[in-house]
Amino acid sequence: METQYVGKRVPRVDALDKVTGQAMYSVDVELPGMLYGATLRSPLAHAKIVEIDTSAALTVPGVRAVVTGKEFPFTFGHMIKDQPFLSIHKVRYVGEPVAAVAAETEAAAQEAVEKIRVEYEELPAVFDPRKAALDGAPIIHEDLGKYDHGNVYELVPGTNISTVMKYSRGDVEVGFSEADEVFEDEFYIHPVAHTPMETHAAVVQYTPSGKMLTVWSSADAPCQRAKDLAKVLSLSFNQVRFISTYSGGGFGGKGAIVAEGIGVALAHFTKGRPVKVIYSRQEELTASQVRLEAYLKLKTGVKKDGTLTAREAEIIWDNGAYSSKGPEVARRGTLTIFGPYRTPHLTLLSRLVYTNKQPSGAYRGFGTTQVTWACEAQIDIIAGKLGIDPVEVRLRNFYADGDPYINEQIMHTAGLRETLEKASQEIGWGQKKPKTTGTKVRGKGIATTIKGTNTPTDSYCFIKVNVDGSVTVLTSSVEIGAGQKTVLAQIAADTIGVPLASIHIPNPDTCSTPFDFGVTSSRTTYHMGNAICLAGQKVRRQILETAGEILKTDPERLTLREGEIIDRDAENQMTLKELMAKKYGGKGGAIQGEGYFTPAGSSLIKAKPGIEWMSSIFWMWATHAAEVEVDTETGVVKVLKIAAAHDVGRAINPIGCEQQIEGSVIMGLSNTLFEEFKMEKGRIMNDTLADYKVATTLDLPEIVPIIVESHHSEGPFGAKGVGEPALAPTAPAIANAIYDAVGIRFKSLPITREKVLAAIRNRKP
């Protein structure tokens, strides 16, 4: 199909609003009578609350409400209902909200918070998930067994283990006995912050008369948040209204109730007045959520020619104090530990463990980033030991179309090989190294990844062709900052046959926009794109039928392109605007259509009964190739270039794909070499962006994004997704390049210059 917009380098539809400062973010929401919230946070990692004295806070002029867990004793949790809005009886991490104040000004709220006195009885705390998993560790959630939870999450009451996931295929003992070499390695990947430009913020209003709770926020899945809040507050879904603002970056961090929770608690005590809660950067870094840290053991059997025979993985994930989306990361996100490789025998034990730290949650990649780190570093170790080129080892084991996945799903649109070929070619793989001068040594590394999407999940949309021919697309897909609106508008414009400029996609409002699973799991282009295709085809058909009536011709002879209705012989023609005026100009009216998409039932996701949930309606593949320069005197690793090739199915908007890839490479480089929480007794010591080091523009290499298009048979115009997997291979590619440069294998992240220098000093001569 010839397209006007799909596949074209279309500028972002939200760009003008954003660069002119007109886009409204959650912090910009101003309402009549609005109060400001502030939060008192726990200074201790694990303690009983003996007493809270709020009397002095209540005397501060302008204070309208002071709330603790005693007044608002509710808990929430999307997967495991374990998190209080405000601490109830005990605190479980430094930074946990203990009390909140709503006041006429931010200053009054802050002053009042400082006047709340809390008496604690400190409890032993545990920060290492490996220790927290042992018998005798301090128990963080005594009532774990009583919590409501998704029935797929296997809790272990009486311990700190909140999810256990076991899976085996074949017989690993057989696989290891068939191997010529068996490799056993342990890896560690650290927690990192999402550091969105826009910190968490929300405005919440609760009108007691109508029992209506309204939340303005940039949450990435407004329908899920509304559903969760309705359930825990015993409201009906239509009494909870999420109004989405523009988002200043999510990366998974906006995938839970965060600032919204403080607002919800306060709004119940302000007699209908809305409350605004804005997280400071310090709160964002210490009391929102982080990427799950993980300890990964990987045992792999290989034949001399590099063929994998068996893999055994054991992972301990750090849940932090509360679950957020940790359980699903530990269950589904964990599966790609085996990488994009055919492996006949495998076994996996994944455990998610509570610690007295900031909650962990979704972070770009949803577990894939963590497991790819281990998988891809070990593939390089294997290649080195066997004396086979790392590219070659990968090619020998890669999934190709028709291969069975670990649950017997048949692999399709595997553009993996092409990503490897293109990325390695771009980096000059196999070329002779330049001669080292002075203290700087160069090396190259490569890493691949496989990432699926949560399957099946649903998306609905509603399209209105208005009386003047303009088009409104109603969806609950948030513009998280990745270009969702532009991609969806491109799909709508080409499907209906109207100019892109005639399409408007308002921000979601759960009262009026239809259900969507959320902007998560790299799913929006594929799922909402498909829903828009279905709705777009419906309205297009109605437009042509109406035109047939008016032009007194067979609709089959008509086509709609760029808002022009043209007859096959070009005898009759009219614009969509003229058509709508003729049909509805008098009394008004519109042409409307809905689209519902679910991948459920697709033959593409058939698999072994009982474990179909491991299937993905589309698989995303990527290869990153990195060249680094290591200064052996200072330990400084300078990344010179990263070539990042991604199979996106089809690029609806190549600019958007390139930006996703570039942004991911930057994020990956930053958390591989720079970002690290420095903790003392559970307190994050580097709680500012001066000391929590995010890479700056000056630290960046040449980035070459490469788009590979494998054309998914059921994707909208062949598209898949790109948001998450773009990050996963960056860390192992850099680590593998460092190994190539100086012969030092890093198995623990981040790779700071201090660690590099220490390792170089300790290197055997």
């Binding site: 000391d691 080091k693 700056t696 000056l698």
Partner: protein
């Protein structure tokens, strides 16, 4: 930030009488880039803030033939960075200023504020000490001139009394064949606090190949900016080669007193002192030689 009363004096005399009156309970605010951050974090909670930015007579620099350069305390870092006259006669000062904060910070941060805050990582201090600069401190009772080398007494601590104001920095004219280089080591590119800062000033003899004078001043890795005098001693009066530079750099590293902190371990920072000292010495010697 706690509540405070704010004054905006228009003259030095007015500022000094406020300082005498409020003494320890007041803080002087020039550019505010350090003070406001510290107040927000409740690290300081002054009852009174004396904003001196309006005292325009303190924003100047001029050259006095016999005594060198005089810089008013309100001169901002961006002015120092961009002045063609300073570039011509005190090249090393714009070279320091370029590494200071970000452009936005340099536009408001002042030389007086940077010195009086006395952070071990203050970028302006090491080179000014290397240049034997002095500070003019005034109070209602009169004035005193203190060499900057003796000005700092510890992290955040100086000899400045609560009723005194640092109004001017005096920098003697460097001898001929002198060049200075400051370099800071940071853990990422862009606007960063120094993890190690080293300034060096080298004077070359006019007749032979000997180094007649040298200063090596360490910042950040010491409680207060400090000359590495033992390292200086082995260079002074010598013919300089790379071996001697390496040796001096090692001695400077041994003289440094870094701590373990969230910004770096003591051992790593000490090693970076060696490398940065070596690099700035090499650059300074190369510059003086090429200038001769």
């Amino acid at each position: 930030m706690g509540p405070f009363e704010y004054f905006e004096p228009e003259t030095v005399e007015e500022a000094l009488s406020l300082l005498r009156k409020y003494s320890d309970t007041a803080k002087v605010c020039a550019g505010g880039t350090d003070l406001v951050v510290r107040m927000r974090k409740h690290l300081v909670n002054p009852q009174f803030v004396i904003g001196i930015a309006g005292i325009r007579e303190l924003d100047y620099f001029r050259f006095e033939d016999d005594e060198g350069l005089r810089v008013g305390c309100l001169t901002n870092i961006r002015t120092i960075e961009r002045s063609p006259q300073l570039q011509e006669r005190y090249t090393m000062l714009p070279q320091v200023a370029r590494q200071f904060g970000s452009i936005a910070i340099r536009n408001v941060a002042t030389i007086g504020g940077n010195l009086c805050n006395a952070l071990p990582s203050a970028d302006m201090a090491p080179m000014l000490i290397a240049l034997s600069a002095k500070a003019k401190l005034v109070s209602i009772d009169g004035e005193r001139i203190v060499p900057l080398e003796d000005f700092f007494t510890g992290p955040g601590k100086t000899v400045l009394r609560a009723d005194e104001l640092l109004v001017e920095v005096r920098v003697p004219t460097p001898p001929p064949h002198t060049s200075g280089v400051y370099q800071k080591y940071t853990t990422r590119g862009g606007e960063e606090l120094a993890v190690v800062g080293v300034a060096t000033l080298v004077t070359w003899g006019s007749k032979d190949e000997r180094c007649t004078d040298v200063r090596i001043v360490l910042g950040t890795v010491v409680p207060a900016p400090m000359r590495a005098k033992e390292a200086e001693a082995i260079l002074k009066g010598k013919r300089i080669d790379d071996e001697l530079i390496e040796k001096a750099a090692q001695i400077a590293a041994d003289e440094s007193r870094p701590r373990d902190s969230i910004r770096g371990s003591a051992d790593y920072r000490r090693e970076m002192v060696r490398i940065i000292t070596r690099d700035v010495l090499r650059q300074a010697f190369e510059r003086t030689q090429s200038a001769r």
